[in-house]
């Protein structure tokens, strides 16, 4: 019972943290929704009492199946803590990715606005392809404009 409470408490804390990160725009809602669904799933799995699972699977004649699953995944506290550790790392990575993409988005938008304001366009008038990014054409264009 205590282990269920610990798992649920950590789950709710992580849930609140992710919601707050989405609210502040520090985690993209697409990543955030996947994280929230995972956290809710973990809380649900951890909160279902073992007796209830036993009763249901026994009624459905699935004892063998749950026995096999139990061999692989034991629903103990350390397993859930390990899953939460992985989730924590994922949240951190998603936050960093979101921040980088946010900076790039702001840069892209402001560049578009500046070009529109000054009646200019890129030399080709077209967005840069992936190859052009990789070969650094974006840098050479901005340098030539600055010069």
């Amino acid at each position: 019972m205590i282990s269920i409470l610990i798992v649920d408490a950590i789950g709710f804390l992580l849930f609140g943290w992710v919601v707050n990160l989405i609210r502040k725009g520090r985690v993209y809602v697409g990543y955030g929704s996947a994280l929230l669904i995972t956290i809710v799933g973990i809380i649900c799995v951890a909160s279902v009492p073992a007796q209830f699972v036993d009763a249901v699977t026994h009624r459905l004649s699935m004892d063998a199946l749950t026995h096999q699953i139990g061999k692989v995944i034991s629903g103990s506290l350390p397993v859930f803590l390990a899953i939460y550790c992985i989730l924590f790392a994922l949240i951190y990575v998603f936050r960093e990715i979101t921040m980088i993409s946010r900076r790039l988005r702001i840069l892209t938008q402001q560049l578009a606005i500046e070009l529109a304001r000054h009646g200019g366009a890129l030399d080709s008038g077209e967005p840069l392809s992936k190859t052009q990014y990789d070969t650094g054409k974006a840098v050479s264009l901005s340098r030539s404009r600055g010069a």
């Binding site: 919601v19 989405i22 609210r23 725009g25 809602v29 697409g30 955030g32 929704s33 929230l36 669904i37 988005r105 892209t108 938008q109 402001q110 560049l111 578009a112 606005i113 070009l115 529109a116 304001r117 009646g119 366009a121 890129l122 008038g125 077209e126 967005p127 840069l128 974006a138």
Partner: protein
């Protein structure tokens, strides 16, 4: 014809709309000669850029595709930085009739709406023209907006919107997805006036909708979360500013 009391910008977000963009730009120019026009080329990979260059229109080019919501946000930032009073967004797929924009603008000015949405369903409430997935989404978010804000908005996904200067800053700062239900609820929670006015739309004749099969699952989840957060965030901000 309206007297030019205000500086008005018409913005058209375009992504791979080579089949329709020239016609849309010509129709907007013919119907709304007193308004400025901006096309946001959202990283198109077809010949949209060349067509826009040949039309001599002001273009804000995203170097890569950022998505519809970010294109609208670029238009809002542009309008804010160049001190426009009103921003009107029109879709690039040719479904909107620019001739209706004058009426919407006039209504927005006379009624004092901060955001006026051109609504396809306000009068008929008939969503049957839409595919089943999108129809369910539209009806769901109409109900969600009503529940969270108390205001009935029947077309939360319309691309034809009239925005006044008062909402430029909150919308440019907040991270809306597509400026649909989440933006409407956010603005209503902040105390802005959001209204609807009936419009008619033409059938899409070319190009592809921005909604894919995956959007059937992603859109309701993401927009639902952002709408709920928008409602809370708006209320918190309003409470903080009034305290």
């Amino acid at each position: 014809m309206l007297e030019p009391l205000e500086r008005v910008l018409v913005a058209i977000p375009a992504y791979n709309e080579q089949a329709t963009i020239a016609d849309v730009v010509r129709r907007v120019r013919a119907s709304l000669p007193e308004f400025d026009l901006l096309v946001i080329n959202d990283g198109s990979t077809d010949s949209t850029s060349e067509i826009l260059r040949s039309l001599g229109v002001v273009v804000a080019t995203h170097l890569c595709n950022l998505g519809y919501g970010r294109a609208i946000q670029t238009a809002i930032k542009y309008a804010h930085q160049l001190n426009y009073d009103v921003l009107i967004t029109v879709d690039a797929d040719g479904q909107h009739h620019p001739e209706q924009v004058q009426r919407l603008y006039r209504e927005s000015r006379e009624s004092g709406w901060d955001l006026l949405i051109g609504s396809r369903y306000m009068e008929t409430r008939d969503y049957s023209r839409e595919p089943i997935g999108r129809r369910m989404g539209m009806q769901l978010f109409s109900v969600v907006v009503k529940l969270l804000s108390g205001r009935a908005i029947y077309d939360t996904t319309s691309g034809l919107k009239v925005m006044r200067r008062s909402i430029f800053v909150p919308l440019a700062r907040w991270h809306c997805l597509d400026f649909h239900a989440e933006a409407i609820v956010y603005l209503l929670s902040l105390g802005y006036r959001v209204g609807e006015s009936p419009i008619s739309v033409a059938e899409r004749t070319a190009g592809q909708s921005m909604y894919s099969f995956a959007s059937l699952f992603k859109y309701p989840v993401n927009t639902g979360i952002m709408t709920a957060i928008g409602a809370v965030e708006g209320k918190l901000l309003q409470r903080r500013s009034s305290a």
